[in-house]
């Protein structure tokens, strides 16, 4: 027999034998993000953070090579669901991750339960997401979680009358409810206004807010709409009328804060992450992120970073095993993230973290959310209220 043929056959056999073994070693993670469409900025932030995490922490965890498969769902729920299903069935991923919006996470959650594959939610912020499946773990935040400290701070700071102005959809209503409840309990009065989510024109609502002569306007808009709001707030002259602007961090998102200009100066907000957070971990994170991606990380990026951190910690603990073992391993984990100390609640699989009070200031020619107060270890108030 031809020697070359024998050699080729032997090689082929060896390759065939080695293939399953190698496939065993690779732990695939399906990352489903809106990379196109109106929520593309969320996807870009998270993708950059995930890449950076792997560049800095290596691509092995629990003895297995970790491979991230990125898929674009364009922010459409049925595409998210199909991609999740294909990743689980065809690519045999150990976990799915990403989920830029609440409906996208909720669409994939039943699959996580059915296939016993952990789903790491890196962005979606409605409280109910973690209740949709026992395999959902969240590393972002919940809206109520960051709103309650705002209401407490406002009451402490002598604000008595507030008009709330929120985008009219799930998270907005969560924010309105949480703020109103806490603030009225502290003795304040609240008037509620809701703005349509799509193509919002804030002027008529701002006029009504101004007519009510409150001490402050509390605002929630999804990440990205904040710049437009800020412009109209100044155009209406509310800033000069002595009405203070308080908000959740989504409005003064680090990604677009610099484009808002001086209008944003002095806005007080509460959130779980600011790129200006003063810690060694965060300084290193922001510097490396800017160098690699070319833009400033925002709270979405840090959600992606910590999602990878949770997965790596879990895989290390299970020696690379997925499924129920992986979720159990992630439950109760604590680590120091760029945003500060972070714990995955063992009971709810939701994130427990510090929420900071920040004010927009100019430093080195750029606008930053500078933190000046914090509430440590805040749990999601919605689920805390439900707990017996």
């Amino acid at each position: 027999m031809d020697r070359r043929l024998v050699l080729a056959a032997a090689l082929g056999l060896a390759a065939a034998a080695a293939l399953p073994a190698r496939a065993q070693e690779v732990a695939k993670i399906g990352l489903i993000l809106p990379m196109t469409g109106p929520f593309a900025s969320t996807g870009k932030q998270i993708e950059a953070a995930v890449k950076l995490f792997q560049a800095r922490n290596g691509d092995t965890a629990g003895g297995r090579k970790v491979q991230v498969i990125l898929k674009d769902d364009g922010g459409t729920a049925d595409v998210t669901k199909r991609l999740a299903q294909e990743l689980i069935v065809n690519d045999k991923v150990v976990a799915i991750a990403g989920f830029g919006l609440t409906p996208l996470a909720l669409a994939a959650a039943p699959l996580a339960t059915q296939a016993k594959v952990p789903a790491i939610v890196m962005a979606a912020a409605t409280s109910t997401v973690t209740e949709a499946s026992p395999f959902v773990v969240r590393t972002s935040f919940t809206l109520a979680q960051v709103t309650v400290p705002m209401a407490e701070w406002a009451a402490r700071d002598g604000i008595r009358k507030v008009v709330t102005l929120v985008s009219d959809y799930g998270p907005g209503i969560d924010a309105e409810k949480a703020f109103t409840e806490v603030f009225t309990k502290a003795g304040g009065t609240v008037e509620n206004l809701r703005v349509p989510l799509r193509n919002p024109d804030f002027s008529p609502f701002l006029q009504r807010a101004a007519d009510a002569k409150p001490d402050a306007v509390f605002v929630f808009t999804p990440s990205g709409v904040g710049a437009q709001f800020m412009k109209q707030f100044v155009e209406r002259g509310l800033d000069k009328g002595g009405i203070r602007l308080i908000s959740t961090g989504d409005v003064v998102d680090d990604d677009i804060l610099n484009d808002m200009g001086d209008a944003a100066l002095g806005v007080v907000s509460t959130h779980h992450y600011s790129a200006a957070h003063d810690s060694a971990e965060n300084k290193a994170f922001v510097e490396a992120f800017r160098k690699a991606a070319g833009f400033r990380p925002n709270f979405m990026a840090v959600g992606g970073w910590d999602g990878m951190q949770a997965l790596y910690a879990g895989l290390d603990a299970t020696k690379g095993q997925g499924g129920q073992a992986l979720v159990d391993a992630i439950k109760g984990t604590t680590w120091t993230s760029p945003r500060g100390l972070l714990t995955i609640d063992g009971a709810t699989r939701d994130v427990v973290q510090s929420v900071y009070v920040r004010k927009v200031e100019r430093k080195d020619g750029e606008l930053w959310n500078v933190e000046f107060g914090s509430s440590p270890a805040v749990k999601d108030p919605v689920k805390a209220a439900k707990a017996p």
Partner: protein
């Protein structure tokens, strides 16, 4: 159709000849069945293609045959999807009943909104249909007690379809979607090969003259618009049942725009345009978005421009010549 008016018998013979099943049609069904078995790991994509093909077929009924342009056909897709979802959550998990409900709701909505569409020329119709879809989307957003609002409708669990449980690989979902598509395409075939279609084409080409020769223009348009909306409703129902989820994006403008693109790719005014377009469009999107998740829109755009500017006519002519030998139903005049 340019021949001098023949006798009635000859006309009837002409329609009968058109309606005979051509060789290529069972061949298409065979290809679908073959794909079902050849690509066991792409069932979900195939189901999505089937849904999009049905949706495109429904738009083609009004665009290709009656000349009604629409930028808001997703209104009926969305209504059907929510109808099927709400039936599954509140009434019965049976898929076929849900699908029937989706079709009925879509059809009724089509009939109800048809007076708006009958008025005015193309531009008015574009605006009106777009507006209807936006209004529907906003209603679904507002009535969150029924629709789940911006979070999407929760808790849809479908029962077995004819004894088959929906599985995670998507085999049943795919087979179900393909079966519904085939049945409805055969039904549509009866419609587009009938004298009814001839009257629609006459209206499309010259409404004044059609009226003058005694065609009840408005009634015909209302009928086809209602039928098209019912088809879109069924497509929405299928979408909801195969993914077991509905959220507000079913009313999205992108859905209406995508389905127009599908018809641009596949060609309007022939029964299989939607099908061909849906297959090409979905495969293209799937391949490109896997290659470059960030920039696939660019490539899709580029390919579409090239397709429309340079190659579409030539490609279609080529395909027609090829298919012509097998004898397809040529419904385009």
């Amino acid at each position: 159709m340019s021949a001098p008016p023949p006798g009635l018998a000859a006309v009837e013979a002409g329609f009968a000849a058109r309606a005979r099943l051509r060789l290529v049609e069972p061949a298409l069904a065979l290809v679908a069945v073959a794909c079902f078995f050849a690509f066991p790991d792409r069932h979900l994509l195939m189901a999505e293609i089937a849904v999009l093909a049905l949706f495109a077929l429904s738009l083609d009924l009004i665009l290709g045959y009656a000349g009604i342009v629409s930028l808001g056909h997703a209104a009926f897709l969305g209504l059907g999807a929510y109808a099927a979802g709400i039936v599954a959550v509140r009434v019965t998990p049976d898929p076929l009943l849900g699908l029937a409900a989706a079709g009925i709701v879509g059809g009724l909505a089509g009939l109800a909104t048809s007076p708006l569409v009958l008025r005015g020329a193309d531009l008015t119709r574009l605006m009106v249909t777009l507006g209807v879809a936006l209004v529907m989307g906003e209603i679904a957003n507002r009535e969150s007690w029924l629709t789940g609002g911006a979070d999407g409708l929760q808790g849809i669990a479908m029962g077995p379809v004819l004894g088959f449980e929906f599985d995670i690989v998507g085999r049943v979902a795919n087979a179900y979607a393909l079966a519904v598509l085939v049945v409805l395409a055969l039904l549509a075939r009866l419609v587009v090969l009938s004298p009814f279609r001839a009257s629609l084409v006459a209206i499309r080409d010259n409404p004044l003259r059609a009226r003058a020769v005694g065609i009840p223009v408005n009634r015909r348009l209302v009928a086809i618009y209602g039928l098209s909306a019912a088809y879109a409703g069924v497509a929405g129902g299928l979408l909801c049942q195969t993914t077991q989820f509905v959220s507000l994006d079913v009313f999205g403008f992108e859905r209406s725009a995508d389905v127009l693109l599908v018809l641009v790719i596949g060609g309007t005014g022939w029964l299989y345009g939607g099908l061909v377009g849906a297959v090409l469009f979905k495969l293209l999107v799937d391949a490109l978005s896997s290659l470059t998740p960030q920039y696939w829109h660019f490539w899709i755009g580029l390919i579409l421009v090239v397709l429309v500017l340079v190659g579409r006519d030539r490609m279609r002519d080529g395909a027609r010549r090829l298919v012509g030998r097998l004898g397809p139903p040529r419904t385009a005049p």
